[in-house]
Amino acid sequence: MSAGLALLALGFIVLAFEVEDVARYMPFIVGVPTFLLASLATITDIADRGAREVADGEERDVGPHALSKRAMWGWIALLFGMFWFLGMVPTILLYISGYMHIVGRERALTAAAVAGGTTLVVYLIFVKLLGAGVYRGYLVGELLPAVTGG
């Protein structure tokens, strides 16, 4: 982690060379000490390897229905994929009910009720009352119009 952050800081410093003087003052003032400190943290990490991984190891306290690392990444990727492809409203409905039913072992009716309730609250308060926009997704927004020519 620390090595990654050191590389990130180094990336900012290198990219700052590409811009004119005034635009690189602040990135240098902040970037150089950040890179040095991140390098120091990397050395410390190597010195006591593993000790810093506070809660991500197998030793952490986990309760019922805890996800493995791989499953967690899968669910996050699924959420983003659904949001991009299906849009906001179907994602809220399907993701919440799916997660509650599959991971939380909730009854299908309870899961559907919570998902429906959340969708309704989000729609009524945020979309209708506060006028927030709704993302329609790639399927409805772009793919279907392209296929149907509409």
């Binding site: 005034v22 003052y25 991500d56 306290d61 805890a66 959420l79 939380g104 993302y135």
Partner: protein, 510 residues
């Protein structure tokens, strides 16, 4: 000043503003009792909706949520010994023992009243500080503000929840990410990698949603539901009235810890968790031997001392945020971001004309929202306590969906959703590897302000701005205050070693 006070009051008297304050107070109490969530989290979720309102109502929504987010913590801390956030931990020391003695309602009402009184004292602190702070602010130019920003970032590293080096790395990276986009004086594109979306820089809302909401929910997914299944609601007992009166009977504890809270708020980076412990520690030390029950074993003064600073801190923290544009905590950083998005420039502008009226509206909201929150939680403590048992398998998907929605509505661009998810992943790794997300968000918000002042200082004075008297004074105080603790620590350690050696050496008199 009187005109501004009245103007501020009339801004608050707008029915839309009052309605939004009430909504914010209710939501803040719901969030406060759910473990793992907190005021920062609520602010992040509210931000996209606040910034589309007019400045007055937008600020009212956020300020009311922020100043009352510590109130509901008391309920779960007392009833179950489970804090809603870091700001509820110190209440457990005496609140939970009181609940086990059948005095839960007394403890809850004392805690809630103390936090309301603390909020009022915090509001008074900011009202009293305004005339003092105003001339001070007028003395400061871009060089001084730039140096103050750098010092603030450094001190956040000292006192954030993570180790110093890691907090400084977090703050530094936050600043670098905050510099993505156009450089303000020349409009040079920087770090954009030819991506059109990045020309305007990374937006505050998706960045914060990712860093706090998404990463937190990822952690909840990994943790699963709570292991503690046999938590049972304790006998609440009676004593609501007694608890309220306790706050005034033990006024010394109330006033002392509230003042500690307000003072802690002024120092960037400490937060309400630290304020609670400091207030509690200070009162426990001051009243040692003078209480009926020992601290930590169910002393009502302990509950008061722990709860009074939770809302008092917000009044104190607003002083540097409004007067200097330097946020004292992650919630203040969010509020500062909201100010800028709403077209309000903190600093001199907040202490003059229309800005001063807005400042007074904020002070009135501190008073009004605190009273409403205390009354609300007092009457709804039972049902609110039940929310603490919301299963993580329900909470995680619901919050994740709302967070992505919140990220999207800021600019209606899918790029914001991508930023939220990517920053969420970074935030998750930061959380699991002991890096400070609070320091990162403060760095992110302060970077553009810092750069603007740096460029102005450079254009006016050249690099010679570092030799200006106030800048030199600030740097000297900064160097002394950062080196002194290290030297004192080393001296103490050396003294300890010498004593150990002395004790280990054979006694010649024997």
């Amino acid at each position: 000043m009187l005109e501004a006070m009245i103007a501020g009051m009339s801004l608050l008297a707008d029915p839309q503003v009052i309605g939004l304050v009430l909504i914010a107070v209710v939501l803040a109490q719901i969030v406060a009792v759910v473990p793992g969530l907190g005021g920062t989290f609520l602010l992040v979720l509210m931000l996209p909706f606040a910034v589309v309102l007019d400045p007055g109502p937008g600020i009212a929504l956020l300020v009311a949520a922020m100043v009352t987010s510590g109130t509901g913590n008391t309920v779960t801390s007392v009833f179950f010994g489970v804090p809603g956030s870091g700001a509820g931990v110190a209440v457990i020391f005496d609140g939970y023992p009181l609940a086990r003695q059948g005095q839960a309602r007394r403890a809850v009402s004392a805690g809630l009243t103390a936090s309301a009184v603390g909020g009022l004292i915090g509001a008074m602190a900011i009202a009293l500080a305004l005339p003092v702070v105003r001339p001070l602010v007028l003395l400061l130019g871009p060089p001084e503000i730039f140096v103050m920003i750098l010092i603030a970032v450094f001190f956040i590293g000292f006192i954030a929840e993570a180790p110093l080096v890691r907090s400084l790395v977090s703050a530094g990276l936050g600043m670098l990410i905050g510099l993505v986009g156009q450089e303000p004086s020349t409009a040079t594109l920087r770090f954009t990698m030819d991506v059109l979306y990045l020309w305007d820089g990374i937006k505050l809302v998706p960045f914060m949603l990712g860093l706090f909401a998404i990463s937190e929910m990822m952690d909840l997914m990994r943790r699963g539901n709570s292991l503690d299944d046999d938590r049972r609601k304790k006998d609440a007992g009676a004593g609501t009235r007694r608890g309220i009166l306790d706050v005034f009977r033990h006024w010394e504890a109330t006033v002392r810890s509230s003042l500690v809270g307000a003072c802690v708020g002024i120092i960037p980076g400490l937060g309400s968790g630290a304020a609670q412990f400091m207030g509690y520690g200070h009162v426990a030390k001051a009243l040692r031997g003078r209480t009926e029950v020992e601290f930590g074993k169910g002393a009502i003064e302990g509950v008061i001392a722990a709860d009074a600073p939770t809302n008092a801190i917000e009044g104190g923290a607003l002083i540097p945020t409004l007067a200097f544009g330097i946020p004292g905590s992650s919630s203040m950083a969010i509020l500062l971001g909201a100010f800028l998005m709403l077209g309000i420039q903190p600093g001199r502008a907040m202490l003059e004309g229309e800005g001063l009226a807005l400042t007074w509206m904020i002070i009135w909201i501190l008073v009004f929202a605190n009273l409403v929150a205390a009354g609300l939680v007092l009457s709804l403590s039972g049902p609110l306590a039940r929310l603490a048992y919301t299963r993580n398998t329900i909470l995680a998907p619901v919050i994740l969906c709302i967070a992505l929605f919140g990220a999207y509505v800021t600019t209606l661009h899918i790029g914001d959703v991508i930023v939220a998810v990517v920053v969420g992943v970074i935030g998750y790794f930061m959380k699991t590897h002991d890096y400070s997300r609070a320091a990162m968000i403060i760095g992110f918000v302060l970077a553009p302000l810092g750069e603007r002042n740096l460029i102005l200082a450079y254009n006016i004075h050249g690099w010679g701005f570092v030799t200006r008297p106030i800048v030199l004074g600030l740097l000297t105080v900064f160097l002394l205050s950062s080196i002194a603790p290290v030297l004192l620590n080393r001296r103490r350690r050396a003294g300890g070693d010498a004593r150990t050696e002395e004790a280990d050496s054979p006694d010649p008199s024997r």
